[in-house]
């Protein structure tokens, strides 16, 4: 019941907003819909926390500690993004960047996008997971091209084609998985249910599953934004409206990684080897290194943080590939803190570019004088994302590093190099923007500070003290991920 309420709220909000999305109170409606989703997701989380994982809807839905924490995160970040988007989109509309139809479309698709991600997280069926991932892409493609500038249309086309091709590979992987499971379960949806598959994972044909994993890796890896499949990501993040960049970076990448990790559990069970883990480590490390060196060459503020997202998804993928309780715990925590930090950075970056009417970093300066809260928001966000203590990203990266030193010390220098280069690149760009001289065209903009403060506060709190319920949750998730 809770699950239907969770998914229903978004769909109903989407339908209402499709007709009312350009009215005066549309943004408030959008916030209300997202807040309702968040409340229901909390109820779901409490149920899992009290009673443990459960299957419902004739095996169609499956909720455990792993996906319920991502559900709460998705609902929470979408709520704060809706709060941020109220003032941000009002500003964009006042400046004629979007019209009536655009606003209706924007609000409706925002809710459809959240619906697709929640469906992907909650479903037990690997096939439906694929369908929901595709739906999540399709609902955001036209949002990326919302402003109709040549660059935005190009970015959206790239996003559509590359993710379409990528996700098609994942469907081939799903076909192969079904081929292997059909021998055990016979015809029908039973053979695609994750809970069934993971129960008999050791009986699945290892050669087929290894081949399937390659296709899953390429398919869902494209959506995670792993190098060399990352080309769509910086474009889509820089050209779309900032609230969409925030949810793409903070949520969609996580959901794609979630799909990949679910598949990895099955493949690990079948092959009884580290094949899948090694592939993920290679992709993760490559993403970390390529993205951190690419950070040095960026001029556009949103592109800069898009590359930073690739870097951090690389770290998380690497952690899950490394395996073991400490690294996996670090990976789970990293997904959480990266999502919170990165969306708050996108909020302030959006404000900064509105204040200076440009996304070019050389045109942005003196944020700390122009608007102290925005300046400190960006500065603290970058300190957090670069992995400085006492923020939560430090904790997760430290955990991953500890496991790495124990498991594979010879990779450690490369991992550290990536983190250090990213740190240097980010600070080189951000210091002038925050403390440098303010350009003459800087103007005051109505800003939404609350989401930024809440996100950074949470990341700080997690870094200082990991609450018991959170670590219990992660331990419950660990039991699922490590057999």
């Amino acid at each position: 019941m809770v699950i239907f309420a969770l998914l229903g709220v978004n769909l109903i909000s989407a339908i209402i907003l499709a007709f009312q999305g350009d009215r005066r109170h549309a943004a408030e409606l959008n916030i209300l819909g997202s807040a309702a989703t968040f409340a229901v997701s909390l109820a779901l989380a409490f149920r899992v926390y009290e009673e443990g994982p459960f299957i419902t809807g004739d095996g169609f839905f499956f909720v455990d500690a792993f996906n319920v924490y991502l559900c709460v995160l998705t609902a929470f970040v979408s709520m704060t993004t809706a709060v941020f988007s109220r003032k941000y989109m009002a500003h964009e509309r006042k400046h004629g960047k979007v019209g009536h139809k655009g606003m209706r479309f924007y609000h409706a698709m925002f809710q459809v996008f959240i619906f697709a991600m929640l469906l992907a997280l909650l479903t037990n069926n690997i096939g439906v997971l694929w369908i929901a991932m595709e739906l999540a892409t399709l609902s955001t493609v036209l949002l990326v091209s919302l402003y109709r500038t040549p660059a935005a249309v190009e970015a959206a086309w790239k996003y559509f084609i590359l993710c379409g091709v990528g996700i098609a590979q994942a469907l081939f992987g799903t076909v192969l998985l079904y081929f292997a499971s059909e021998k055990i379960f016979g015809e029908g949806s039973k053979g695609l249910l994750w809970t069934n598959l993971s129960a008999v994972a050791d009986k699945l044909e290892p050669t087929v599953l290894s081949l399937a994993f390659i296709f899953f890796m390429v398919g869902y890896g494209t959506k995670v934004g792993l190098v060399p499949l990352h080309n769509w990501l910086p474009d889509a993040h820089s050209e779309g409206p900032t609230p969409i960049s925030a949810v793409l970076s903070g949520l969609l990448l996580n959901v794609a990684l979630y799909a990949l990790v679910r598949c990895k559990v099955l493949v690990d069970g079948a092959t009884q080897s580290h094949m899948a883990g090694h592939i993920m480590m290679i992709f993760g490390l490559l993403s970390l290194l390529v993205a951190s060196f690419s950070l040095l060459r960026q001029r556009d503020i949103k592109r800069l943080f898009a590359y930073s997202s690739i870097e951090h998804m690389g770290i998380a993928t690497f952690a899950f590939g490394l395996g073991g309780p400490i690294a996996t715990f670090g990976g789970l925590l990293h997904m959480l803190v990266h999502s919170l930090t990165k969306s708050s950075i996108f909020f302030t970056a959006g404000h900064a570019s509105q204040m200076h009417s440009t996304q070019d970093m050389s045109g942005i300066g003196g944020l700390i004088k122009g608007n102290p809260l925005a300046g400190w928001g960006l500065m603290l966000g970058v300190i957090a994302i670069a992995g400085m203590p006492p923020f939560g990203v430090f904790t997760s990266e430290f955990l991953i590093l500890t496991a790495l030193i124990k498991e594979a010390p010879y990779i450690m220098p490369f991992f550290l190099l990536g983190i250090v280069v990213a740190f240097a690149a980010l600070f080189r760009r951000v210091m002038p923007m925050v403390f440098g001289p303010a350009p003459s065209n800087q103007k005051a903009v109505k800003l939404a500070h609350l989401p930024v403060l809440v996100h950074l506060g949470l990341v700080l709190a997690i870094g200082l003290y990991l609450p018991a319920f959170l670590s219990d949750w992660f331990h419950m998730a660990l039991k699922i991920l490590i057999k």
């Binding site: 069926n125 096939g127 439906v128 694929w130 369908i131 595709e134 739906l135 399709l138 493609v141 036209l142 091209s145 109709r148 500038t149 040549p150 660059a151 249309v153 190009e154 970015a155 959206a156 086309w157 790239k158 559509f160 084609i161 379409g164 091709v165 098609a168 590979q169 469907l171 081939f172 799903t174 076909v175 192969l176 079904y178 081929f179 059909e182 015809e187 029908g188 949806s189 053979g191 695609l192 044909e205 050669t207 087929v208 081949l211 474009d235 050209e239 690419s294 060459r297 960026q298 001029r299 556009d300």
Partner: protein, 221 residues
């Protein structure tokens, strides 16, 4: 119809589907592409129906009907309307290196057979030998998307890839569960509407559907 006879018909159909994939790869005229794409869908639909008949699985008839409606009628019709509305039906794509593209295509087919050989050993279905053709269709669609520079041809390549995936599902497992197939069909239809909108957006912003015009977003420095 005996099983071995059905298997042979199916192999012939698989060969024809592979032929249409190569046809798509080298056809330069837009209407020509559209025709080949519709033929590929028709072959796919017949093949699915035959598999459904020999295996006695009635849900495959629904899949065959779904393919027939979407891949042979709806999508080609939408594309036809778009091409007509955008007045690009006379456009001919200038392609260089057709022999090289064909050669890469052949290598991809061999690679597909090699990749799928362990799976062929494991399968007991009559359709097992066509799995490699299905993967080859996916790969050739991918190759088409890489080599072509027009929005419409890239989309046809994308849809040909989807055909390959569908063919893989029928030949490896006698089709995915119906829920999944319906969901995938829905996704393809939504995608069709989106690329329809896209063609107009690209046309109005770039005044052409040639993707060579789209090279603004590059790494800066």
């Amino acid at each position: 119809m005996s099983t071995s006879f059905a298997a042979e018909i199916n192999s012939v159909l698989a060969a024809l589907i592979l032929l249409t994939s190569f046809g798509l790869l080298v056809q330069r005229r837009i209407y020509g592409l559209l025709h080949i794409f519709a033929w590929q869908g028709l072959l796919l639909s017949i093949s699915t129906a035959i598999v459904g008949y020999t295996a006695g699985l009635h849900h495959l008839y629904i899949s065959a009907l779904l393919t027939l409606t979407i891949k042979v009628i709806v999508l080609p019709y939408i594309l036809y309307l778009l091409i007509h509305r955008l007045r690009i039906h006379k456009e001919v794509e200038d392609m260089i290196n057709i022999p090289t593209t064909m050669l890469i295509g052949i290598i991809l087919v061999i690679l597909s057979y090699h990749l799928m050989s362990p799976i062929r050993e494991l399968s007991t279905l009559v359709t097992r030998s066509t799995l490699a053709v299905a993967l080859a269709t996916v790969m050739l669609g991918l190759l088409m998307m890489i080599t072509r520079k027009k929005a419409v041809t890239q989309i046809i390549g994308f849809l040909a890839m989807e055909n390959g995936l569908f063919f893989a599902a029928t030949s490896a497992t006698y089709g995915m569960p119906l829920v999944i197939e319906l969901g995938v069909a829905l996704d393809i239809l939504i995608a069709a509407f989106i690329f329809g909108i896209f063609f107009f957006q690209i046309r109005t912003t770039f005044e052409t559907l040639d993707l060579k015009a789209m090279e603004k977003l590059k790494e800066e420095e």
